[in-house]
Amino acid sequence: MTKPPLLATRAVSKHFGGLKAVDEVDLELAQGEILGVIGPNGAGKTTLFSLIAGSIQPTSGEVLMRGHEVSGRPAYRLVRAGVVRTHQLVRPFPNLTVAENVTVGAIHGAWRDEASPRARAAEVLEFVGLAERANELPGTLTLAGRKRLELARALAIVPLVLMLDEVIAGVNPVEAMKLAALIRRIRDERGVSIVMIEHVMPAVMSLSDRIAVLDHGKKIAEGKPAEVAANPLVVEAYLGKGAAEEGATPA
């Protein structure tokens, strides 16, 4: 018997009225892995995240953590079990200071770590490089800063699985490289397994151990970055047909 994966979905679906936003998707995440999720706009990536994180309930199928079913549990309980997500549009609590924002996250991870919420928040802010800005309001941060804040708030919970929804998008290329490095450090130094949605190809391709591709709610491909980039289905649905016909493989 192999050990069950850290996190898995089994034929999970979500329908909005007639729309199958997520359609029978199977996904597995191993301990210490970085899994990239890509796909066209509206493919159902964010919805899939919401299903896993318990923000919304699946229409059918299940979400498993270490082989135990966790679907149907409210979001806050999944968080306490170690499954933590960030949002595509950063959502800091605007009236709380940076430190307070992170402290809110730190409150509910306490059982796995002895440090007080505030001490842990301080440590995490140091890690993401926001210690200097601790007493400012999130509104004063740059977008990249707020993305770091979002990461810090999630890390303060001491997650087992971190689900990142387009954290790199929208920041300038220099910041994007720094954020990518930070994400790698989160996995390497903190042992957190990561699922990330990203449209920024260089980042996904270089960070991910594996990539899953969604289109119209279905998983159409999965595998190593290079394999996925060469997959004609992926090229057609996402990377672009014009590219495929010219017959080259991505770097």
Partner: protein, 326 residues
């Protein structure tokens, strides 16, 4: 190394304790007439009510237009207990009134998934329905003619300290809630329920908790109110104007702050008394204008105005032309 805004050293309570002690000694001085003392008592009660409303409206961001239901319920339960053939001692009656109001507010649990104006409109409905139902329930509220409590000559004097005690307690609770991790979570829920859940906050539970606490405190305030006025009737206790009063006090003072509702309540009681004596025809409109100006220009109310002034003064001090300190 870092100064957390949240870490309040315990000595910061010293000025507060001094203020409370001074207020407690106030009626002992001969300078204050019973009239002034009573006015201050009412202000204490309003402070408690406004702060408790603010836990919902300010910390959680659920603007209730129906808190009169809890105020009235607390008042009438307390009154009934004191009028019983084996009358309960007043403090017990107040407490039980508060508990009843707290339990009652739990009934609003299903409404908590409404947010913004929907929640507010629903509370208007609950408030008005409560008023009508309780007015109809004669055995409990005495119907439209209300109930009178026996006159207790020393009661008003004693109520000053009880009301002060309650207000001090509620101010302390407001600080503690605001500064504790509970307060952080409430503010997080207010800012974004979903995002709060995504960092592990059990929004449902905390909303219920705050609603019950808020309802209970407002209920206790209602009980003290009943004792203070000796006569209460449902039209007044459950009235829409009373609910609006809680909203006005908090908004004028500064929603979501601790100082705000306190200031708001004091202004509400004192300004009202002053205006009533001098310009009784204008006070409604003045509140309206105040409300409009605050919403348009200073969401933090008087507190925000104060902060702005303080900042301006500080800037002035630092302005060039003033000789800098060595």
């Amino acid at each position: 190394m870092r100064r957390w805004a949240a870490d309040v050293p315990f000595w910061s309570a010293v000025p507060f304790v001094i203020v409370v002690a001074a207020l407690a000694a106030l009626p002992l001085s001969l300078r204050i007439s019973p009239y002034e003392r009573n006015l201050v008592t009412v202000a204490f009660l309003m402070i408690s009510g406004a702060l408790a409303w603010n836990w919902m409206g300010g910390y959680l961001g659920q603007v209730s237009f129906g808190h009169a239901a809890m105020f009235g319920l607390g008042g009438f339960v307390a009154a009934r207990l004191m009028l019983h053939e084996n009358p309960a001692p007043a403090p017990i009656a107040w407490l039980l009134g508060g508990i009843a109001a707290g339990v009652f507010s739990l009934g609003a649990h299903p409404m908590l998934r409404l947010r913004g104006p929907y929640f507010s409109i629903a509370t208007i409905g609950v408030g008005e329905a409560s008023r009508l139902l309780f007015t109809y329930w004669e055995e409990f509220t005495g119907g439209a003619s209300g109930v009178s409590l026996p006159i207790d000559i020393g009661m008003k004097a004693r109520l000053y300290w009880w009301a002060l005690g309650l207000a001090a307690l509620v101010v302390t609770a407001s600080f503690v809630i605001r500064r504790s991790t509970l307060g952080l979570q409430l503010l997080a829920i207010k800012a974004d329920v979903d995002a709060a859940a995504d960092v592990g906050v059990n929004a449902t539970f905390y909303q219920d908790l705050v609603m019950v606490l808020s309802g209970a405190v407002v209920g206790i305030t209602g009980g003290l109110w009943a004792s203070f006025f000796s006569f209460i009737e449902p039209a007044d206790m459950f009235g829409f104007d009373r609910s609006i009063g809680f909203v006005l006090m908090s908004v004028i003072g500064g929603v979501g702050t601790v100082l705000g509702p306190v200031l708001g309540a004091v202004v509400f009681v004192l300004l009202r008394q002053f205006l009533l004596a001098s310009y009784p025809q204008l006070y409604l409109g003045l509140y309206g204008i105040l409300l409009i100006l605050i919403i348009l220009f200073e969401p933090l109310g008087l507190t925000g105005l104060g902060l702005r002034l303080a900042r301006a003064v500080r800037r002035r001090r630092r302005a060039p032309g003033v000789v800098a300190a060595p």
